[in-house]
């Protein structure tokens, strides 16, 4: 029963911001990957860009294997940035209004040339140190949240399912530990 007050209360606690904006965003993320897959047969991943782009600057044999794919990966990454900017210029700026968008209480909103932008409050050292581990981990582990999480899980790949379970559990443990140590944000 959906009208059961206990169920509703539980849902409100688990999903304080509802699920619609997440689900719609997720469908769009999937759609973006599908557009590329249907046209090119490529299961897109975001993290290989880190290595393929290094092949422009480094002769290390590890990076040279990505020379053939590095150009489209730059385009893909540029597209992700552009798409997010498009979101900022429309929904985040209030040009397009939807009940699914809330400005939220995290981070800071600021405005440049009529476009509402957003800035994180998470401390730079966390971003930098975490970034280094993300850079090592996604490359050693053969994928990140888009490669393993979206395309790999979509492929029902057992490797990806194990990979996702691993990084999800470790990330939950890490985030809980960091929060318990009083680091915020």
């Amino acid at each position: 029963m959906v009208s059961d007050p206990l169920v509703l209360q539980l849902a409100a606690e688990l999903f304080p911001n509802g699920v619609s904006r997440y689900a719609v965003g997720g469908l769009l993320v999937g759609l973006g990957a599908v557009v590329i897959y249907v046209g090119t047969g490529i299961p897109a991943g975001a993290s290989t860009f880190l290595e393929s782009t290094l092949s422009y600057a480094s002769d290390q044999s590890r990076f040279q294997q990505y020379v053939s794919s590095r150009d489209w990966r730059v385009v893909f990454t540029f597209g992700i940035i552009l798409g997010a900017t498009l979101f900022a210029a429309t929904v985040q700026s209030g040009l397009v209004t939807t009940s699914l968008y809330e400005a939220g209480t995290t981070g800071q909103l600021y405005e440049v040339g009529g476009v509402t932008l957003w800035l994180t409050d998470v401390q730079p050292w966390r971003l930098f140190a975490g970034g280094i581990l993300v850079g090592i981990g996604t490359r050693v582990g053969k994928g990140c949240t888009s490669g393993h999480g979206v395309c790999g899980v979509g492929s029902a790949s057992r490797t990806s399912l194990v990979g996702v379970a691993t990084f999800l559990l470790v990330a939950i443990g890490t985030a809980q530990l960091v929060a318990a140590l009083g680091v915020s944000p």
């Binding site: 688990l14 997720g26 597209g79 975490g130 970034g131 993300v134 981990g137």
Partner: protein
């Protein structure tokens, strides 16, 4: 290439819309304050799952590249666990993963450049190390 750009734009717009481009939202999920984020990953995986299952039956090869439609399958080895665990610590510490980091830059979060710089440093460290390992042991099989 234009198609990849369009796909990337939809992908990035989705990351912005779901607010996964905000590290705080990811951290709130990992700290069990808001479970909504699971809908992003599973919503996306369901959409790709349908395409990965259906496309090989409709056509034998992709129109633009001539590549065969295949699922994303990678061989399993210990690296998946080791790398996954290292990535997990980084993700839990920073609240950001590569795709969301690019999108985060797009919504104006210039602070995320710290994370992007870190990711390149990390990717370079493992690339340097693995190139070295590959050169010093010619019998080693290609990693992935």
């Amino acid at each position: 290439m234009p198609l990849i750009l369009i796909g990337g734009i939809i992908f990035g717009f989705g990351l912005g819309f779901s607010q996964m481009a905000r590290p705080e939202v990811v951290l709130n999920f990992l700290q069990f304050d808001d479970f909504g984020l699971v809908f992003v990953m599973f919503g996306a995986a369901i959409v790709t799952g349908i395409a990965f299952a259906v496309m090989p039956r409709l056509r034998s090869a992709a129109p633009l590249t001539g590549d065969r439609y295949e699922r994303r399958l990678k061989p399993f080895d210990r690296n998946v666990l080791v790398g996954g665990a290292i990535f997990g610590v980084g993700w839990g510490l920073s609240g950001i993963c590569p795709g969301a980091a690019y999108a985060s830059l797009g919504v104006g979060n210039v602070t995320i450049l710290w994370a992007l710089a870190g990711m390149f440093v990390g990717a370079y460290i493992q690339g340097y190390w693995r190139s070295y390992a590959a050169n010093s042991s010619p019998t080693a099989t290609r990693a992935d």
